[in-house]
Symmetry: C2
Subunit: 684 residues, 2 copies
C-alpha cells in the first residue's frame, strides 16, 4: 500500500471512550500492504512473504458475495452453508430438498455441479493509480469525469484480460485515492460435496442470528474442477484439530464487502436519517411479501426460503447498524474527531483549501436523498434477465470503453454465466415478487404518473405481473441465448412483453444511473481530497474501506462482558445439544434427526463455535481463520450484534467475529455424517 | 334518516362494469332510517318496528372495536374469538394460556371477569343536527369552528348523560351533514364463558385470513352481569339450527368501523399514493418487531401474539385496499361518476358555487400529506398511560366544553376503566415496543432534531426505552389512581420519567392534533356541501359512511365465481377436517387435539362457515346474522379478499361477508366441547 495513509484517523475515535480500545485489532488490510510493524510490535509475529502468498492463494472469493478457502489437494473448497445456499437452493427441487435434508456425495461422480457459481483466486495485484488519475484531468464536469474514469478502467481491464487470460478488475480504494488492478484465476466448474441440514447450519434461526453464544454448523464443502477433473491444487490450507486457546492470535483472509469508516459526519447522518430507514422499509416489505408467499404451502416455503433468509439477515444487520448510528455517542465521537481534524486542516495553509471537500460531501448527501426513493428496475429474475438482454444489446453496439461497466468485454464471461444459468425459475414466486415491485413503483411515483400508467397498461399490479410472467418466454434459456446471439435488432423487434417492459424502463434506468454515478464521482473526488488532508495530518499507515476484495484481518480468541456477564470465547458440541434442549418447542431450535440419532458418537468436548476480535463485515462470511502457522482453525460465519457498527466504526470492546471451529467440521463429518474419507481428506 | 340523501352517487359507479352490480345489496343503513321501500321491492320483506327494535336491542358494541349480540335470557353474549381476543389475552398468563388452550366455564362461578371490557347496547337515537349546526356559524376560521363544534357536542353529551344516565355520544354522519345523539346502556361486568382454541378459531392463520372457503370457529361466548348476577335480558336473539339455503335473505346488525365511499377522487388518490403506503410501512415495521420479540421464546410469543394478530390482519386488509385503488379501473369509474356529477353541478346556477368543495378537498389532501409522517405519541401501554394521566390533569383544569373530546365528563367512566385496568403489562414487550417507537421518531425527525435530542437524553433508543420502563411506576394501578386523584399539581411534580416524557411531548402532541382537527373541520364543511350538491342532483335515499355505530346491512347467501371456478356459499364440519388433512405440515393448519379426538361425535353435515352479499367492513366482526324471522343464523368474522375494496366502493360480484354458521357453534359445543347445557341455553 502507498505509504500515504494512516489509521490514526480511525483509532482516534476510540480514544474517547475506553482505553482498552486503543489496542483494538482494527483493520482490513491489503495483501500488498500488510501492517508488518504492527504485527511485530503487538504480537511478535512476522508472517514472511511465503506465508502471505500461500494464504492469499488458498483464499477464494464467491461471486455471490462471500468468501471461502481451498482445503485439499484435490480441490475441496470450504465455505459457509449460507454462502453456498444460493447454489444449494438452485440445486434443490420439490423432491430433492437439499436445504432441508442436507447433501453428501459418496464419490466424485455424485457431486452436483452448481448451475452458475464462479469462484475467484487472487493471483496478482498491480497498482494502476497513476494511469487512472492521469486519464481524468482536473476541471472535467462530473459526467465527463465519470465517463473518462470508467473508460480508462475498462481499457486497463481489457488489456489485462487479453494479456494474461485472468479475470481483471480495477478496484477503487480509499474512496478514489488509489486504484489497483486485481487479477483472478476463475473456477466455473464447482460441485457440491457436502452440505448439512439448514436446521443445524442456521441453528436457532433468525432469533440466534447475530447473537452469541452460538452453535451453528454453518459450513459446506464444494470442489473445483478443471477439464472435468477435480482440480489439483498447490495452495490449500492445512487443518488443525487441536483446540483453540484463549488469547491466541488468529488471522482472517476474506472479502469484506463494504465499510464506511472514511465517511464524514454528514455522510453518516445521511445513512442515519435517510438511507438506512429507507432500506429497512424496503427490507421489511420484502420480508413480509416472501413470508406471505411461503404461507401458501410447503413447496412455496422452500422456494422462497433462500431469498427470505437473505432479506432477514440484511434486515437484522441494518437494524443493528441504525441502532448504533442513532446512539448520540456514536455521532458525538465521530464529530469530535472531525472537528479536530478540520481545525488542523484550517491551521495549515497548504491544506486549508481541502476543507471544502467536507462541505462538498455534505451537499452531495442532500442530492443523494432526492434520488433515494426512485426505482427504475424490478427485482424479479425474469425482469432482470430482460433488462440484462436489452442493455447488453444496446451496450454491445458501443465501443468497449463507453459501455456501462458490467457490459464491458472483460466481464462478459461472468455476465453470460449468470444470464444463461439453468437455475430454476418459479412462476408463482416471480409473480409474487414482480407484483410487489410494480406496486412499489406505483407508490413511489403515484398512480397518475405517465410511466406508471404505461407499465400498468390498464391493469392492477398483480394482474399485470401475472400477464407479463405468463407471456414472457425468457424462462427458457434457449430463448435467452437466441436473443444474445441475434443482438440489438432482435431485441428491438422482440414482442416478448418482459423485454418490452425493460425497453420502456431503459431511459429512466439510464437517467437515474447517470445521476447517481455523477454524484459518486463527485464523492470520489472529495474523498480523495479528504484522504490527502488526513494523511498529511495523521500519517499513512492504514487500510482502505472494504471493497469486496481480499483483505487480511487479525485478532485474538477472546470472550467479552455483556450485561454484567462473561461470555466465554467458545462453545462445544455438547453445548449444541443442551441449547436445543433448553429451547425445546421453539421454532428453528430442532436439531436434525441425524444429529439426535448419532449423539452417542459425538465427542462433546470438541469446540463448536468461537469468537475473536478480528475486524470483519458482510462478505467475510466463509473466510478461513488461520493460526500463526497458517493452519485452518475456523470459518467465519457471523458477527455478534455489537459488531454490526463495524460498518462505520470498529470496536473490539464487545464486537466479535463468530466462527465455526475447524475441528467441529471434521468431528461431525466422522461422527454424524459417517463420511470418514471426506473427513480425512480435509487439509491434505 | 333525513330524506336528503341518495345512493345513486354510489350505485352509478357499478353501472359501468356489469349489470349484476345494479342489483347490489349495498348499504350500511341507519336503524332510524332503514330502506323500507328497497327491502319491500327487492325481497318483499317488511321488517316492522318490533322486529327492528328487537334486533337493535339484541345487538352489542364492543368498545375494543367489534360487534356482538345477546343470545340468551341469562346474559350470554356471542362475538368472535378475534374480537374477544383482547380480553382472552389479558386473562391469560404463562400458566393459563386461554389463547392456545381455549376456555370453558362449567358454572357461573367459573366465569372469568374481563379486566376492562365495556359493552354498549343502543337504546336511543336523537337527531341533533340543527343544534350542532346552529352552534357553528358560517365565517368562523377552522380552529374556531372545530372548537365551537366540539363544545356543542360535548355539551349535548353531558346533558344527555345527566338526564338519562346513559352513555351519550354525538355521532357525525354524512361527513358532517348530520349529527345524531346515540344513547347506550353500558355493561362493564363482562365475563368469559367459552372460547375455543386459537388453532380452530383462526384455522389456516394468516394464509387463510381474508380467503374463502373457510373453516373457522371464530366464536366466543361471554356473559354480562348486573349487580354481580347474570343479567336478565328481555331482548336476545333466538337460535336457528336448520341449514341456510341458497339465496336466502339475511341481515347483519353490527358496527362497521369506517368507510370512505363519499370520498372525492382526489381524496382516494391521497389514500392510494400517500396514506395507505405510509400505513403499510408502519404495519410491516410493527409486524417484524413483534415477530422478532416472539422469537425470544414461547412465553414471548404468547405475550406478543394478540397484538401481532391485529397488525397482520390490518396489513393484509390494507394491502387489499391498496391493490384495489392501484387498479386503474377503480379510479376511472370513480372519476367518470365525479365528472358527470360536477357537470350537473356546473349546469345548475343554484348549485354551481358548491363545486368549490371538490377543489377544497383536493387542497386539504396536500396538507394532510405534509402532516402524515409526524409522530407525537408512542405506542406503548406504559407511555399511553402516562400520556392519558398528563392530558387528563391538564384537561380537567378546563371547563368541560373546552376539553379534548375524550376527556369530557360524559366519557370519564369509560376512560377510567381503560386507564385503571388491571390487565397485565409485560416489561420486555413494552421495551421492544417503546424502543421501536423512539427509533421511529428519530427516523422521522432526524437524529439532530431538538426534541429527539431531549427524548434520547444521550442514549440510543433501546437503552433509553429500557431505562424509562425500568424506572416508571405506572405499571402499578395504585400509582395511576393516586395521580388521577391528586390531579394537575401532582402530575406537574411527578418525577416518574414516563410522565416527564409525556409532558415533554405534550406541546408537540397538541399542536399536531390541532392541525389535524382543523383540516378535518375543513373537510367536514366541504363534504357537507358535496352532500348538498349530490342530494340535489341524485336524490336522498342513502346511508352515511360507517362510523362505528349500529347499522343494518342485508344480502343473500350466495357463492361466486373466481378464476373460472364456482365457490360454493358454505362449508361444513366434515370439510374442516379435510382442510386440515390437505394442508398437513403447514403452520396454522393443525386442528386442536380435542377436535381430532372428538371427530367421531361430530355431525360433518352441519354448516361451518358461509358467505353472503351483505355490505360489511372492519368493526362488523362479531355481528349477528339473522334471517327474516330475526333468528340467529351466523356470526360475521371476515370478508373475502375481494370485499376489501368495500372501504371505498362496494361490489357483490365477488366480494362476500364470511360468517360462522350458528348451527356449527351449537354442534361443536355439544360434540367437541362436551358442554350440552351451554349449547342448550343458546337462544333461550
Amino acid at each position: 500500500m502507498s505509504p500515504l495513509f494512516s489509521s490514526l484517523v480511525f483509532t482516534i475515535f476510540f480514544a474517547l471512550s475506553a482505553c482498552t480500545i486503543c489496542r483494538a485489532d482494527e483493520g482490513m488490510w491489503l495483501f500488498n500492504d500488510l501492517p508488518a510493524e504492527r504485527l511485530q510490535q503487538r504480537y511478535q509475529f512476522e508472517p514472511g512473504q511465503a506465508w502471505v502468498d500461500h494464504l492469499r492463494l488458498s483464499s477464494v472469493r464467491f461471486n455471490v458475495g462471500g468468501s471461502g478457502s481451498f482445503v485439499s489437494s484435490d480441490g475441496l473448497v470450504l465455505t459457509n452453508h449460507h454462502v453456498a445456499s444460493d447454489t444449494l437452493y438452485k440445486l434443490s427441487t420439490a423432491e430433492r430438498n437439499i436445504m432441508d435434508d442436507g447433501f453428501l456425495a459418496e464419490r466424485y461422480e455424485d457431486e452436483l455441479r452448481a448451475p452458475d457459481l464462479e469462484l475467484n483466486q487472487l493471483v496478482a495485484i498491480v497498482d494502476v493509480t497513476e494511469r487512472v488519475q492521469a486519464a481524468v484531468p482536473e476541471g472535467l464536469d462530473a459526467d465527463a469525469a465519470a465517463a473518462a474514469r470508467r473508460a480508462v478502467m475498462v481499457a486497463i481491464e481489457k488489456e489485462s484480460l487479453d494479456e494474461t487470460g485472468f479475470r481483471s478488475d480495477v478496484v477503487t480504494l480509499f474512496g478514489g485515492a488509489a486504484y489497483h488492478l486485481y487479477r483472478y484465476k476463475k473456477y466455473t466448474d464447482v460441485r457440491l460435496v457436502w452440505a448439512p441440514e439448514t436446521a443445524i447450519a442456521f441453528f436457532g434461526g433468525d432469533a440466534d442470528n447475530f447473537e452469541y453464544p452460538r452453535y451453528c454448523m454453518d459450513a459446506t464443502l464444494m470442489r473445483v474442477y478443471e477439464d472435468g477433473q477435480p482440480a489439483k491444487l498447490e495452495h490449500f490450507l492445512r487443518w488443525r484439530d487441536t483446540a483453540l486457546t484463549e488469547d491466541e492470535l488468529v488471522f482472517v483472509s476474506g472479502h469484506p464487502g463494504r465499510t464506511q469508516r472514511m465517511f464524514t459526519v454528514d455522510a453518516l447522518k445521511f445513512l442515519r436519517d435517510q438511507r438506512i430507514p429507507f432500506v429497512l422499509d424496503y427490507l421489511r416489505r420484502k420480508e413480509i411479501m416472501l413470508q406471505q408467499y411461503g404461507l401458501q404451502g410447503r413447496e412455496q416455503r422452500r422456494r422462497g426460503r433462500d431469498e427470505l433468509f437473505g432479506i432477514q439477515n440484511a434486515r437484522k444487520a441494518y437494524t443493528g447498524m441504525l441502532a448504533g448510528l442513532q446512539d448520540p455517542a456514536t455521532i458525538f465521537s465521530k464529530q469530535t474527531a472531525e472537528t479536530e481534524l478540520l481545525a488542523a486542516v484550517a491551521n495549515d495553509p497548504s491544506l486549508a483549501p481541502l476543507a471544502a471537500a467536507w462541505s462538498k460531501i455534505s451537499e452531495i448527501q442532500a442530492q443523494k436523498a432526492a434520488l433515494l426513493r426512485q426505482t427504475t428496475s424490478f427485482r424479479s429474475r425474469l425482469y432482470e434477465i430482460a433488462e440484462t438482454l436489452n442493455l447488453m444489446a444496446e451496450e454491445d453496439a458501443k465501443p468497449n470503453e463507453q459501455r456501462l461497466r458490467e457490459y464491458a468485454q472483460a466481464g462478459r464471461e461472468s455476465l453470460l454465466q449468470d444470464l444463461l444459468s439453468e437455475a430454476p425459475i418459479y412462476d408463482d414466486l416471480e409473480r409474487a415478487k414482480l407484483s410487489d415491485e410494480i406496486a412499489r413503483l406505483v407508490e413511489q411515483r403515484g398512480g397518475d404518473d405517465e410511466l406508471v400508467v404505461e407499465i400498468l397498461a390498464g391493469k392492477g399490479p398483480r394482474p399485470r405481473a401475472t400477464e407479463l410472467i405468463a407471456e414472457t418466454e425468457l424462462a427458457d434459456v434457449a430463448k435467452r441465448q437466441a436473443l444474445v446471439d441475434a443482438g440489438q435488432s432482435a431485441v428491438h423487434a422482440s414482442t416478448d412483453p418482459m423485454i418490452q417492459l425493460a425497453r420502456l424502463m431503459e431511459p429512466h434506468y439510464r437517467q437515474l444511473r447517470q445521476q447517481r454515478e455523477a454524484l459518486e464521482e463527485q464523492e470520489r473526488q472529495a474523498y480523495t481530497q479528504i484522504t490527502q488532508a488526513t494523511n498529511a495530518i495523521r500519517g499513512t499507515d492504514t487500510y482502505p474501506d472494504a471493497t469486496f476484495t481480499l483483505r487480511l484481518a487479525f485478532g485474538t480468541v477472546r470472550g467479552y462482558h455483556q450485561d454484567g456477564q462473561w461470555i466465554a470465547p467458545w462453545t462445544n458440541l455438547a453445548g449444541t445439544y443442551q441449547h436445543a434442549e433448553s429451547h425445546a418447542g421453539q421454532e428453528d431450535f430442532d436439531l436434525p434427526a441425524r444429529w439426535l440419532k448419532k449423539r452417542p458418537n459425538v465427542d462433546g468436548q470438541v469446540q463448536m463455535n468461537f469468537v475473536c476480535t478480528a475486524d470483519i463485515i458482510g462478505g467475510n462470511s466463509g473466510s478461513p481463520v488461520v493460526d500463526r502457522e497458517g493452519k485452518l482453525v475456523g470459518l467465519i460465519f457471523d458477527g455478534n450484534i455489537q459488531s454490526l457498527t463495524n460498518d462505520y466504526v470498529f470496536s473490539d470492546q464487545q464486537g466479535r467475529a463468530v466462527s465455526v471451529a475447524a475441528a467441529a467440521i471434521r468431528e461431525v463429518l466422522r461422527s454424524v455424517y459417517q463420511a470418514p474419507e471426506l473427513a480425512d481428506s480435509l487439509g491434505r
